[in-house]
């Protein structure tokens, strides 16, 4: 049985953790709603480019020629990475005017992966007009504040999970005399909101806990990748720290590096090749970094980084992903709800709307007269005192 003193304590925890995070959580739930359908909305606003209709088994064009065409278009710029789309027959080449880490004039060229023809030469990301989804993403991820914003929202997530937990603790004593799902419409307005709050909260508790915890994980992505770069990746590249990069003209074949990676991890899809970069953290002056992933719903979320020496074209290492990055990778789909087709997305949206009503009902209860709130607490406490004489305070 629950002690009276404990109920007071948990009620205090629930009230304050919720009050602090509610407005931000409300913002996250509302901006998250369109983001569930990110792919669909994006395809609707920017219809996919029409690719040349070629037989399905047409081989891919040589990546070296794609990179060379990009260099001919921007002879003074640097190729930073090549992304091979795993859904569409497209290859993207990302270039920047300088090798500086904070160069914000980076832009991408989209190729047809089979014909090596340029489909679209995009303006720099920083000069593209703000899109609706872009604004939603920034509001959802970092409130336009970069890393501090991410960490702040992470903290709000922690408070949210604490609010869920304390809410679950209070659910027991609250429901002692009520049947599951009772909603008292014929009593006061506040009781109606309270009952709705309890019903919604207890039914979607597991979902909001999963989305809350995975959201916290996602907000920690930057520090977690930083930790990995500064420990395991840095250890692999230790001997090369502080050395200047090879000129891009002297790098080994991109296509060969791509083929090496595919041979190393057969049955996986290699999606991107990051070029050597002596100004990154850690500095990676002589190595291509390639990323591959599996092809099942779960394994497609698990990435395998490989280092290929850009002087010899040989594989240096398949870099081990630590447990915290694996957890981050598993957290992504469980937060986005993008792994079970459109029906799962619709269910995700319904749960999200449920969460929005949960938050609003919590606020409504808070705004209701303090007097009646006190009365409600007293009522529970009274019934508890009757049940445990030994614990009367």
């Amino acid at each position: 049985m629950f002690k009276v003193k404990n109920i007071r304590k948990w009620f205090w925890v629930h009230k304050w953790t919720s009050l602090i995070c509610t407005l931000f959580l409300l913002e996250l739930c509302i901006t998250g709603l369109p983001l569930i359908f990110l792919e669909q909305i994006d395809n609707w606003i920017n219809p996919p480019l029409s690719y040349a209709s070629l037989p399905a088994n047409t081989p891919m064009a040589n990546l070296d020629s794609i990179v060379n065409i990009s260099k001919q278009h921007y002879p003074k710029q640097f190729v930073r990475s090549v992304y091979v789309d795993d859904d569409e027959p497209a290859v993207y080449v990302y270039m920047t005017p300088t090798m500086k880490p904070d160069d914000d004039l980076g832009h991408s060229i989209q190729f047809d992966s089979r014909t090596a023809k340029i489909l679209k030469d995009n303006p720099p990301f920083s000069q593209q007009p703000e899109t609706f989804l872009g604004v939603m993403l920034s509001l959802h991820i970092d409130l336009f504040m970069g890393l501090p914003g991410e960490l702040f929202l992470c903290l709000m997530g922690v408070l949210f999970v604490a609010a869920i937990f304390s809410g679950l603790v209070l659910y027991g004593p609250f429901m002692k005399k009520l049947d599951f799902g009772t909603v008292r419409y014929n009593r006061s307005r506040r009781l109606k909101w309270l009952d709705l709050h309890n019903l919604l909260g207890i039914v979607i508790a597991a979902w909001i806990t999963v989305v809350g915890l995975t959201g916290i994980m996602n907000d920690l992505a930057v520090p977690l990748f930083g930790l990995w770069n500064n420990t395991e990746v840095k250890a692999l590249l230790q001997s090369q720290q502080g050395k200047g990069s090879l000129p891009q003209s002297e790098l080994s074949s991109v296509q060969a590096a791509f083929d090496t990676a595919r041979r190393t991890l057969p049955g996986m899809t290699v999606t991107s090749i990051v070029f050597p970069d002596d100004q990154g953290k850690p500095s990676r002056p002589y190595h291509y970094l390639l990323w591959a992933h599996g092809n099942e719903p779960l394994t497609s979320q698990l990435f395998y980084p490989m280092l290929v020496d850009a002087r010899t074209g040989r594989l240096t290492a398949v870099v081990k992903m630590p447990w915290y990055l694996r957890s981050l990778e598993v957290s992504r789909p469980l937060h986005f709800g993008n792994y079970g087709g459109l029906p799962l997305k619709i269910i995700w949206a319904l749960f999200d709307i449920g969460a929005i009503i949960l938050l609003i009902s919590g606020l409504c209860i808070w705004f209701a007269r303090r007097k009646s709130r006190e009365a409600w607490l007293e009522k529970i406490l009274d019934s508890e005192s009757i049940n445990n004489h030994e614990n009367v305070y």
Binding site: M1, Y171, G172, M175, K176, F180, G181, V183, R184, Y185, N186, L196, L199, L200, I202, V203, I204, A205, A206, W207, V210, E296, P297, L298, P333, L334, Y339, G340, G341, P343, L344, I347, L350, F351, G354
Partner: protein, 71 residues
Amino acid sequence: MYTRNYSRIWGKPLMLAILIIFGLLAALLGTGVWHLCSWITLCVPVLTIIIFTLKPKLERLHKSHCRYSHP
């Protein structure tokens, strides 16, 4: 008595939580028919909310309807 009250309060919430976790994992770990299982199990909590919020209203509607038909 204590255990009965406990399961009366926590029985349904626990079942719903298990259904949700099963639904979330089924779509992540399986394909094809597992996706269908996931969609069906995840609809249960959604329907639970709809049914329990509408139930009192429908009952009231039903009562007033009965009053009309049997004055």
